[in-house]
């Protein structure tokens, strides 16, 4: 039963082949059997899940495709009365008094919350190794990372620990772990899903999106979570379409751009796999054209200067006073700030605070923050020009497949490089997806990334769905 997608589980519930409680129990059993190996969850919400499943069964209305369907939330999404830690010590015992807008929408649709999934601390990282609660292992090879920061949510979708999960993507945090674990990871346009109640990393980059087993499932989740909210002034008042209308199988008339810059410094097996994927798109009727995005090589420094600047200001709210961890070694107010933050934050969060504070400080602001904000404007223009020539861009998602636990933890720049191909969409607010596209000779998953212009989620879904229907990679499951 655990291999169900949202769509197939919805059919089963409608036809009374099984109940939501039975489906939920199957996933709880699966989590029981795998949690020791994978470490996917920070909190398993067994009671809440069974209660919500029972309610869905009693209501018996499965007209909403998410009704009675078990899912997991990344543990930076606030859940009323349920611990939300951001995988940090400073929020280790934080229990939000309100729900994030995205959870409110999912609850209204009848979703069943099975647990709060692991992440890099405050979503800062590319491997879940910065989590205060330990690393999440890759279901395909337990010695390797599953990617990050939404590593927990990716493991949920890849290893059948629920039907789907919700993650966040700032510079690749949904797409990169989806690539490393073989599931579908969808990043929306900036502002398409309200961020209210989601713990912020970099406020002009952060987006929320689904990690699923199929592209169709991603469309089903987007239908519930997308759209304007009065709680988030950065959500434009543009009506979200019915995303399932874009799930077409022919690519006739679709122009797919291939930027060669995204194939430099990428593992050969990944390059070969994505080139094969491009052949598949061509065979489905797409026209393949070359495009140039020469600013790509500046994406990583642009990203970390801007994201860490925004991150440092967002981290200022954790002061040991209002909520979260406080030091027991303070004589005066300043001690509370200095020591609570030292004790409560992990290394990568501290690096964020330090780089950001430096880049925003008087004397360095122009050289770092402002410079990067100008390069951001140029990158956005460069993408807009590319999308005048094509509907979507196709690239690898990650320059390499899953790496060993501990391999990059002492070298921040090597870790940042994991996001080389995903940060551009974060910098420019573009929608994108990573979909399963093959495996390397070690049997590790390789993802293919598609990107489109802002608010063109439909085009991404269209091409991704056509590719998925023509291939079998998404059906292969990790040997757990």
């Amino acid at each position: 039963m655990i291999e169900h997608t949202i769509a197939s589980a919805n059919k089963g519930l409608k036809e009374k082949q099984f109940s939501s409680v039975e489906l939920t129990q199957a996933y709880l059993d699966r989590i029981d059997a795998t949690e020791e190996k994978l470490n996917t969850f920070i909190t398993i919400t067994k009671e809440e899940a069974l209660k919500q499943a029972k309610e869905a069964d009693e209501k018996g209305d499965f007209s909403n495709p998410l009704a009675g369907i078990p899912m997991a939330l990344k543990d930076i999404i606030c859940t009323k009365g349920i611990k939300t830690t951001a995988a940090s010590k400073i929020l280790e015992n934080y229990t939000p008094p309100y729900d994030a807008e995205v959870y409110t929408r999912l609850k209204k649709a009848g979703s069943v919350l099975i647990g709060k999934a692991n992440t890099d601390q405050f979503a800062m990282g590319s491997s879940t190794e910065t989590s205060h609660f330990g690393v999440t292992k890759n279901p395909w090879d337990l010695e390797r990372v599953v990617g990050g920061s939404s590593g927990g949510p990716a493991a949920v979708a890849a290893a059948d620990l629920a039907c789907y999960s919700i993650g966040t993507d700032t510079g690749g945090s949904i797409r990169q772990p989806a690539s490393l674990s073989s599931c579908v990871g969808f990043k929306v346009t900036y502002g398409r899903v309200p961020r209210y109640g989601v713990i912020s990393y970099a406020s002009s980059f952060d987006t929320i999106g689904p990690l699923t087993k199929t592209v169709e499932d991603a469309a089903l989740v987007l239908n519930t979570i997308c759209g304007h909210s009065n709680h988030d002034s950065t959500t434009p008042n543009i009506l979200a379409p019915d995303y399932t209308n874009f799930l077409l199988e022919s690519l006739k008339g679709i122009k797919v751009g291939v930027p060669k810059e995204y194939f430099e410094d990428v593992e050969q097996e990944t390059v070969d796999t994505v080139i094969k994927g491009i052949e598949t798109l061509k065979s489905l009727g797409a026209e393949i054209i070359e495009v140039n995005l020469p600013l790509t090589k500046y994406a990583i420094p642009t990203y970390y200067i801007l994201a860490k600047s925004e991150g440092s200001t967002n981290m200022a709210r954790y002061d040991g006073i209002k909520y979260g961890h406080t030091t027991d070694d303070a004589k005066e107010l300043l001690d509370i700030y200095m020591k609570s933050r030292d004790e409560g934050f992990g290394d990568e969060v501290k690096r964020t605070i330090m780089i950001g504070t430096y880049a925003l400080s008087s004397g360095y602001y122009d050289a770092y923050y402002l410079k990067a904000a100008k390069v951001r404007a140029l990158m956005k223009r460069e993408f807009e020009e590319a999308f005048e020539k094509c509907d979507v861009l196709v690239t690898p998602t990650s320059p390499f497949t899953a790496f060993k636990v501990g391999e990059k933890t002492d070298d921040p720049l090597a870790m940042y490089a994991a996001d080389t191909l995903t940060v551009p969409a974060g910098i420019c607010g573009l929608p994108g997806v990573s979909i399963p596209a093959g495996f390397d000779s070690k049997g590790l998953p390789i993802g293919l990334q598609l990107m489109a212009n802002q608010f063109e989620e439909g085009k991404v879904l269209h091409v991704a769905h056509a590719f998925e229907q023509a291939t079998e990679f998404h059906k292969k499951k990790p040997p757990l």
Binding site: Y94, T95, P97, Y98, T189, Y190, S204, S233, T234, P236, L295, Y298, I300, P301, T302, Y304, I305, S312, A316, D319, G320, I321, K322, Y323, G324, H325, T326, E332, L333, L334, I336, Y337, M338, K339, R341, D342, F345, K350, R351, I353, M354, T357, Y358, S361, A367, Y368, K371, A372, A373, K374, V375, R376, A377, L378, K380, P412, L413, C428, G429, Q454
Partner: protein, 95 residues
Amino acid sequence: MSINREEVKHIAKLARLNMSEEEIDKFTGQLSGILEHAEMLKEVDTDNVEPIAQVTGLQSVSFKDEEKECDYTDELLKETPQEIQDHMIKVKNVF
């Protein structure tokens, strides 16, 4: 551009972050590496380019400035690790 120990100490103080001597050493090396890497942005010609701080072009989104009830102030207060006095958080001496 590299950063020295004194600067790291100063930034840590500005950021209200206590730091051990070992941490200062570690971050001096790591931050220098990261900032040196960021030097490559100088290669990009940004003359006459307006910087952007947001990407979707939304402008002047506002809402009515009116009082609203918050129905979870008690729950919010419960989250403080500090002492509560008269429905307020009591903090330590400033000096």
